[in-house]
Amino acid sequence: MNKKGSTFYLLLIPVLLWLVVLIVTPHLDLMFRSFRLETDEGNMIFSLNNYLTFFQDKIYWLTFVKTALYSIFVTFLAFVVTFPVAFYLTKVVGKRYSGFMTLLLLIPIWIGELVTVYGWMILLRDNGVINNFLMRIGLIKSPIEMLFTNFSMTIGLLYMSMLFMIVPMMSALDSLDDSLIEAASDLGASKWTIFRQIIIPYTTPGIVSGGIIVFMLVIGDYVAPNILGGKSSLWFTEQIYNKFLASFNWSEGAAFGFLLLLLSSTIIWIALKLTGQKLERVGS
């Protein structure tokens, strides 16, 4: 009994260390910092000002709204783009090939975001691969401006987050019994009905969990909006970065960090509520 107790505590130590030292303490420190304000005389006082700035200054909350809307849009796109891929890999192609193809999908993750972003720059720039190709085959006369636009930013965000949508969706689809689809088909259901009434309801948990990961990744991303996004792509994370590094205002940066955490969690909570209601309606 005593022996078991000591092993238990021994195993508990790393867990507690991890949680307390690496997660709880820094957050508490940031939280205290976010309520501190430097007066003109240079004294530190307790204040809610750092949070109020966010709501008072149009530029901050507008940036956040833009970032959030874009993240939702990218999440939706990720679903649209990856669903056929996930379906194909689990239901159409044989087990042997599907493993290999999934491995191929993983490659961009191994390379790292920064490198893939630079890769996209080579493809998309005015005299880059895509424009050169289109001009060579005579489809366009002058290069289309693709790099440093919202288009290139969306592609960058989508490319790096797509995989996190595919994997949970595949595991959900994997457990879907093929006979359900066959039965529906035998009973005369159209493909669209099967998709809407059987596949979607069944895979909703996978879609939602994938969607949460993608949304969180995109809203907290810094590299793709910063490098691919161009001159007007002020992302909320960039504003936090600027608070810390350009204006040395750590208190406001901390407050903005907490607001990002709070607001994005709220959006996810709403999304969960919404999909939850849908599930009930379909079930009844």
């Binding site: 910063n226 600027n242 204006s247 040395f248």
Partner: protein, 357 residues
């Protein structure tokens, strides 16, 4: 028994960590610097000569301050901030320690530059910086594709629409003010006038935003954007412009008519530097005329080393005479120390420009 093993294991591990730390502190120089400021050859020579390992971390002015502030001046033995970014930081968060100039071989430094840096980095009468190199921020222009671009005001000139790029940071705000015919440095003593000036600068840059291709963000992206032809008229550093000139003679660095912005980068000692000996050794080693000349020949930035001139390549000398005719040389605006609180004003202006349509 088990307990004993466990206790002794922990003891050994802790001991190892401490000794590893001690060994590291003894023979390592942890240098926080800019890319290119510690050429591989010089690092190797220094390690061979002194037996000290050099560990490099690359950064820029903003990140340097943030890093040192986060550790209260620890984690590095020597840093290389610009001279105008030392005193106000030091007054607010003491992350540096004063330089003991008797340990610096000042005879091998250009006296006027040493005096200027001492004065500009002074807090309570003590100097916090030793000059390392200097250069200017001006414009890099593809002369074939954008003939006639020669002033800051060309960064919002419709003539070059879609082919303009710059780094959206404080030097650009200063440059814009000069391009509008104002003198921002003269307003460093009057925060309200400066705020009003920044409002006008903001309006100019937001109006001109539609002509901008993109904002570059680092030395690498600066080079890439003009090399690839995505932009023809950009703000840039002289050393980068001259390096580009070597591979493409159409591209060159130009000192804007309303004045290139001069900067001096320094050596400064973080407050918790663990190896001051190595730090001073590195400073003196880097400023030896031959080594300083090697750095300038390689990177193109001017050096504060007094005797380096005779070791410079002709090409480097040619760069200076090509880009800086006497009138432009006299017109260089050297950055005075930034007063406290100014960066806050500028950060908001920069945010609003970035977010504007």
């Amino acid at each position: 028994m088990k307990k004993l093993v466990l206790v002794s294991l922990t003891a050994i591990l802790t001991l190892m960590m401490f000794t590893a730390n001690a060994v590291m502190a003894k023979d390592t120089l942890r240098l926080l610097t800019w890319k290119g400021y510690a050429p591989a050859k010089l690092v190797k020579d220094f390690e061979a000569k002194t037996g000290i390992d050099v560990k490099l971390t690359y950064s820029n002015n903003e990140e340097m301050i943030a890093k040192l502030r986060a550790t209260r001046g620890g984690g590095f033995d020597l840093a290389q901030p610009s001279q105008d970014r030392i005193s106000f930081v030091q007054m607010k968060f003491p992350v540096y320690q004063a330089i003991d100039y008797s340990r610096v071989n000042t005879a091998q430094l250009t006296k006027s530059m040493l005096d200027a840096v001492k004065r500009n980095t002074a807090v309570d009468g003590k100097g916090y910086g030793v000059p390392h190199c200097y250069g200017t921020t001006g414009m890099i222009v593809n002369k074939k594709l954008a003939p006639g671009a020669n002033d800051w005001s060309d960064l919002w000139n419709p003539k070059y629409a879609g082919k303009i790029s710059y780094r959206l940071k404080r030097p650009l705000l200063i440059a814009t003010a000069f391009g509008m015919g104002e003198d921002p440095f003269a307003l460093y003593g009057d925060i309200d006038a400066y705020r009003a000036l920044m409002k006008r600068v903001e309006a100019t840059l937001i109006n001109g935003k539609k002509f901008v291709k993109n904002y570059w963000t680092s030395g690498d992206t600066q080079v890439a954007i003009i090399k690839s032809g995505d932009a023809n008229v950009i703000s840039g550093w002289d050393g980068k412009g001259w390096t580009l000139h070597k591979t493409n003679p159409d591209i060159d660095f130009i000192a804007p008519k309303s004045g290139a912005l001069g900067w001096i980068d320094t050596f400064a000692l973080p407050a918790k530097s663990k190896n001051l000996d190595a730090a001073y050794k590195w400073i003196n080693f880097m400023m030896e005329p031959k080594n300083a000349a090697y750095f300038t020949n390689k990177e193109g930035y001017g050096t504060a080393s007094a005797g380096a001139l005779e070791f410079l390549n002709d090409e480097i000398k040619a760069n200076f005479s090509r880009s800086f005719p006497q009138a432009d040389l006299d017109n260089i605006k050297w950055h005075p120390p930034v007063p406290a609180g100014f960066e806050k004003i500028e950060a908001k202006v920069l945010d609003r420009i970035k977010a504007a349509k």
